[in-house]
């Protein structure tokens, strides 16, 4: 993959960056072409159906890999271990995933039905895996594990998309997650 082997890929990368930071409508085809270092005409050669097609490609290329943090927790042996593990996995890709998710949810209403379904499915799979993992480490009823998994997902999302970007938690380290781990420890 030399410097400019694949123009198409360069375009997708530049578009990803711009769409994510500025949003779809705020980003012009000119801007993308400039960022790549080519002309608009060249861009239209690679994406014959124009801006919207390029956007769809970018969406699929940027579906956050939800499973990544879960794989790290494979050998957790308690609920609190799962949580602290999720939190640390989360912290490492923080700015990346945070931006991707924010963008994804912001554009979600404008997406086509297939893309919306794709995203929904990703979350459902994540939830299913997490619930299974919870059942494995502490003997919960299936429905309780399901709820607990959604609870954790909501919590992480709220933290990642609300507290963290708005800089609402001042006490430096993510003590909140540590405390959650302690909470659920009691419950388990």
């Amino acid at each position: 993959m030399s410097e400019r082997t694949n123009r198409r890929q360069q375009i997708i990368n530049a578009a990803s960056e711009l769409f994510m930071t500025q949003g779809y409508t705020a980003t012009s085809v000119r801007q993308i072409a400039d960022a790549v270092g080519c002309t608009e005409a060249a861009l239209y050669y690679h994406f014959k159906e124009g801006k919207r097609t390029l956007f769809n490609t970018v969406v699929e290329a940027n579906l956050p890999n939800f499973m990544l943090p879960l794989q790290r927790c494979r050998d957790a042996r308690s609920l609190s271990e799962i949580i602290t593990c999720l939190e640390s996995a989360n912290r490492e890709h923080r700015s990346d995933n945070q931006q991707r998710m924010r963008w994804l949810l912001a554009e979600f209403p404008t997406l086509g039905a297939e893309e919306q379904a794709l995203i929904r499915e990703k979350f459902q799979i994540f939830h299913r895996e997490l619930a299974a993992m919870i059942r494995a480490v502490c003997d919960q009823a299936a429905s309780a594990a399901d709820d607990l998994a959604w609870l954790i997902i909501c919590l992480m999302h709220g933290y990642q998309q609300l507290l963290s970007p708005l800089d609402l938690v001042s006490d430096g380290e993510e003590t909140m997650f540590v405390r959650l781990a302690r909470f659920v420890e009691i419950l388990a």
Copy 2:
């Protein structure tokens, strides 16, 4: 306040609707003028500094009234009562607040420093009030109440902005909140 007493207000209302559903860049001044039933020139008379100024006005007019759900919980006497109360208050203004919050967070990065600070402050006040309320009903250490308050805020946000709009929770009623109430009941 007759039909067209206040053009300025009409403009703000129309702009609110359009900005929220389409976003800032996707909404044109023309579109707003059309919705109001006047010309662009008239609009520029009321907002001399143009689209961005109108937008700022709209942002301030649409800062969700965060305190509303809290006021409903004044006479809650336990942690679980607070939570179920918040949840029901939340459910009533659901679609409204959901859209407002989604929009606010999507546009947040583009806002000026003062507006960002304003939003941040609203959340901090909400948190402070909720934490105080928690301390009032169950004898928690101040720091534990603080964390618990953030936890509940994150959870509600995750539910409102992730699970609910993506239609990820299938079991009809908001059992998740009921279960959370039970969880925290044990903790208290």
